[in-house]
């Protein structure tokens, strides 16, 4: 009998590795977007709308959003595991976190493909 708990980390390398891989994806996106903004003309509504109308930008931003969702899940779960000790409360907050992340993601898709 081990003392594995349902609110634990699933004891694997997968989430740890996923957090690193998603970090690299977001870092690449961040650098590209930072360069685009830094060397672009003053941003007007037209420029802004056209930027997000391009297919590559929508897909890249969606990839960023999915990476962020996974990355944030691992990060917030780590924080909850460190500071929230009662199992029920921790599970509740973890479920709440997942719901919030799902809402963020759904909203992002709605914003990108309206």
């Amino acid at each position: 009998m081990t003392d594995r708990v349902v609110t634990g980390a699933h004891y694997g390398l997968r989430d740890w590795l996923a957090q690193r891989i998603t970090a690299v994806i977001m870092a690449i996106y961040s650098v590209i977007v930072a360069f685009v903004f830094f060397f672009s003309e003053p941003v007007t509504y037209g420029v802004w709308r056209d930027l997000f109308a391009q297919g590559w930008m929508r897909v890249a931003t969606l990839l960023f959003a999915v990476s962020l969702a996974w990355h944030a899940w691992v990060g917030v779960r780590d924080i909850l595991m460190d500071y929230i000790k009662p199992d029920g409360l921790r599970l509740g907050m973890q479920v709440g976190t997942l719901v919030v992340i799902a809402c963020y993601l759904g909203w992002t898709i709605q914003i990108l493909w309206r």
Partner: protein, 133 residues
């Protein structure tokens, strides 16, 4: 007997006083806790950032409204804090990726890269802040 009890040196626990004034966290420790705080902050602020992205892309009127809103000083200050949080999380994150690959784990290098992370994220914040306004 009672005097001995009074003079007895009590064991040290992590009191608030100890945390604030007696235990000095080394710089890599500060980078670590700031990485956590900035990550949590960005997660919580995401709803606000998404709202601004949503409004700014919805219509020209919405875009102008967000632009005006972002120019108000409390909003500007909050956005600058988030720009710092993102920059710090980014720079510290890159440092952690190298640490995961066993690069720069010795004390000297770890402290040096901590200073670099602290400086680079503040410089990035200044640069992005200057460019945004």
């Amino acid at each position: 007997m009672s005097q001995a009890a009074v003079k007895k040196i009590r064991p040290k626990y992590l009191s608030l006083q100890a945390l604030l004034f007696e235990i000095r966290l080394p710089l890599p420790g500060w980078i670590s806790i700031l990485h956590r705080i900035s990550g949590a902050l960005l997660f919580v602020a995401m709803v606000w950032l998404l709202w601004m992205l949503d409004r700014s892309l919805a219509s020209e009127a919405g875009f102008e409204k967000v632009k005006h809103y972002a120019g108000l000083w409390p909003v500007k200050l909050s956005l600058l804090v988030l720009v710092w949080a993102y920059s710090h999380h980014f720079c510290a994150g890159v440092r952690y990726l190298f640490l995961d690959l066993d690069k720069g784990v010795d004390k000297e290098t770890a402290r040096l890269t901590s200073w670099i992370v602290l400086g680079a994220s503040l410089a990035l914040t200044a640069l992005l802040g200057w460019k945004l306004w």
